[in-house]
Amino acid sequence: MTQIGNVTSQHAPSAAPKEALQSSPKAAPDGADHKIIARDVDVFYGDKQALDKINIDIPNGAVTAFIGPSGCGKSTFLRCFNRMNDTIDGCRVTGRIELDGQDIHEKSVDPVLLRARVGMVFQKPNPFPKSIYENIAYGPRIHGLATSKTEIDEVVETSLRRAGLWEEVKDRLHQPGTGLSGGQQQRLVIARAIAVSPEVILMDEPCSALDPIATAKIEELIDELRETFAIVIVTHSMAQAARVSQKTAFFHLGSLVEVGDTEEIFTNPRDKRTQDYITGRFG
């Protein structure tokens, strides 16, 4: 497992968080390994502040898990990375979020392109009510990544293979994607996200609607995919965060309490709130 930089959240708004981050002993010296860097991110829904000065680095080639009690802002923060919050009325994001060093809030960044680079998978599997084939082909088509039939065929096959679904569906590519089981649908959705060759994949509780077997399959898939993508996953299940992630961030009441290596967080968390939460001593 790569050594992952560690950022502790800054609560005092007056503190200069960046310096603090640079001087953090565990911070990775080369920023190159960090796919996404978030600095002082605040999110408001109308007047209500949902997130307060979040600082985090999302590493490449690893799974980062967001955990925390309900309503602590995990999903909200996740949606910052591909600007899905733009689609929510009254949601306002401030602060800096860099993808490969570029601020994603810059004028020149088209959210549509950003979302092609930062894929997303949701809680409930949401295949389009079209054929399996069309589900996968849609993304490459709108982005002009594949135009000829053979190109698209190829993308469809590789994506399904990578999602570990090819063997199960290759004989019924032209049947509706909604006819698959929940777990298969979720893998189909992941394949669909892969098909546009994103660099980051965001997953918001991708297994919470699935049973343990389907969950295990998705977890296996995530484990395989992380070699190629930076993966960020929101999960309610601490056990799941422990199983799939290499880095874990614990949110509480809209702030980032602790972030670090998953093993560290689960064996020896630094913050009392983290320990209380993961051991079931909260509230």
């Binding site: 591909n82 899905m84 689609t87 009325d89 009254g90 549509v112 392109l113 950003l114 979302r115 092609a116 680079r117 894929g119 997303m120 998978v121 949701f122 409930k124 949401n126 295949p127 389009f128 009510p129 849609y138 993304g139 709108i142 982005h143 959705v189 669909r192 996200a193 546009v196």
Partner: protein
């Protein structure tokens, strides 16, 4: 364990108490259920009575009685100077020829009263038919040929059993003599009953036996075409905007309230709008399908918007998110995913709205489509009636036969509506999707 025992005994008493309460509750249950059944019984009974009474009144109008006569256009009598020019041919008293034929047939003495009585047995239409025939082929003058024409509506009613001999002669429109003649003709095989095609091929007329619905059907068709072409694009666009794009602000709230209110505004008010704005302000023609169409379009607009929005809303938000998260733009997600998925719902909503527009009467009254128009309109700008208005007009007419025809017109109208609604139901069945 003592605790357990205690709880068991307490639960036993609980059970007892509940059992005791159950008798009464069961009765209440039965009563309640009965109310529901009665209510449904009422509703269904009403429907059956309504439909039954209409069918009972209307089915007769689909049949008519025709008389076949051998007529002789006596050249000496009617065209003594051998005139064959149009004006003089038009001037011929064709009714007299027909009465003559009848007289010949029935061997009736030639008196003024008899002539009048005989004349009243056949439709005025007979004369027109004969005239047209002669005009088309003047060589017929002097010859004898066979001609078929509708009976007069009263005679028709007699054969349909509406006018009975048992009624005192003074209380019925046909005299005993006339009835005898009719029976005679019938026994000679001159009078036949047949399907009433005139009902569908003719337009309105003051004479019930030849009054038809063709003009009204064409008028309704034109009106609905205008309505459809105008309302659907507007409504779908508006619905898409409001449901998918509109930011949540005062203006869109206002639009929304507006639309919901419009949906419940009485239809007659739309008629007033059409009258005041379209006819009086913009100077559009009265009684024209174009005005009717616009008014009905405005009227169904909110309905289609609402049903379109409902079907858009029924498309799971996860589909939108899926598309957006793939890097589709908002427009792409709406037009490539959401709208196609909502299309069946939109279509059914549209059909149902069109059916509603088809049956709508009050606004058309306001814009003058109630006038008497004896021919089918040629364009959307021409004066016209519409099916429901035709029903209203006929219902107001005093002739007994119009009552049957009104019912028949209703049956036709309902037929159209059933077809449309059936289409909607089938569509809904076919494309019903659960999220």
């Amino acid at each position: 364990m003592t605790d357990m025992a205690a709880s068991t005994s307490s639960s036993a008493s609980t059970t007892d108490r509940i059992s005791k309460s159950l008798v009464k509750r069961r009765r209440a249950e039965k009563r309640f259920r009965l109310y529901g059944q009665i209510a449904i019984g009422f509703a269904v009974a009403f429907l059956l009575i309504l439909l039954g009474s209409i069918v009972k009144d209307g089915y007769r109008a689909f049949w008519m009685h025709e008389i076949q006569l051998n007529v002789t256009v006596d050249a000496d009598r009617f065209a003594p100077e051998g005139q064959r020019d149009e004006a003089s041919l038009r001037g011929i008293n064709y009714d007299a020829i027909i009465v003559q034929s009848l007289r010949d047939k029935l061997d009736v003495e030639n008196s003024r009263t008899n002539r009048k009585a005989l004349r009243d047995l056949v439709s005025q239409e007979f004369g027109f038919v004969l005239r047209e025939k002669v005009l088309a082929d003047p060589s017929l003058i002097g010859q004898t040929f066979s001609l078929t024409a509708p009976l007069d509506d009263q005679a028709d009613l007699y054969f349909k059993g509406e006018i009975k001999r048992s009624v005192a002669e003074d209380n019925r429109p046909l005299t005993d003599r006339q009835l005898d003649w009719l029976d005679e003709l019938k026994s000679q095989g001159q009078i036949k009953s047949k399907f009433n095609t005139l009902l569908f091929t003719r337009s309105d007329s003051t004479q019930p036996e030849i009054a038809g619905l063709w003009g009204a059907i064409v008028g309704s068709f034109f009106t609905l075409s205008v309505t459809l072409l105008l309302s659907v694009p507007l409504a779908v666009a508006a619905a898409v905007y409001l449901e998918e794009f509109a930011p949540k602000n005062k203006f869109t709230d206002f639009i929304e309230i507006n639309i919901n209110n419009l949906a419940a505004v009485p239809s007659i008010v739309f008629g007033l709008l059409g009258l005041a704005v379209l006819i009086n302000f913009f100077g559009m023609p009265r009684s024209a399908p174009i005005v009717g169409g616009v008014v009905l379009a405005l009227m169904v607009l909110p309905t289609i918007i609402i049903s379109t929005r409902a079907s858009l809303k029924a498309v799971s938000p996860s589909i939108r998110q899926a598309a957006l998260a793939l890097g589709a733009s908002k427009n792409q997600s709406v037009f490539q995913h959401v709208l196609p998925l909502a299309a069946p719902g939109i279509l059914t909503g549209t059909i149902i709205s069109m059916a509603q527009a088809l049956g709508e009467t009050a606004p058309l009254l306001m814009i003058g489509m109630v006038s008497f128009v004896p021919s089918a309109p040629e364009s959307v700008m021409a004066p016209s009636t519409a099916l429901p208005v035709q029903i209203y007009i006929w219902e107001n007419a005093s002739e007994r036969s119009f009552r049957d025809r009104t019912a028949a017109a209703i049956i036709v109208l309902l037929g159209f509506m059933i077809v449309m609604n059936l289409a909607a139901v089938l569509l809904r069945r076919r494309f019903e999707r659960r999220w």
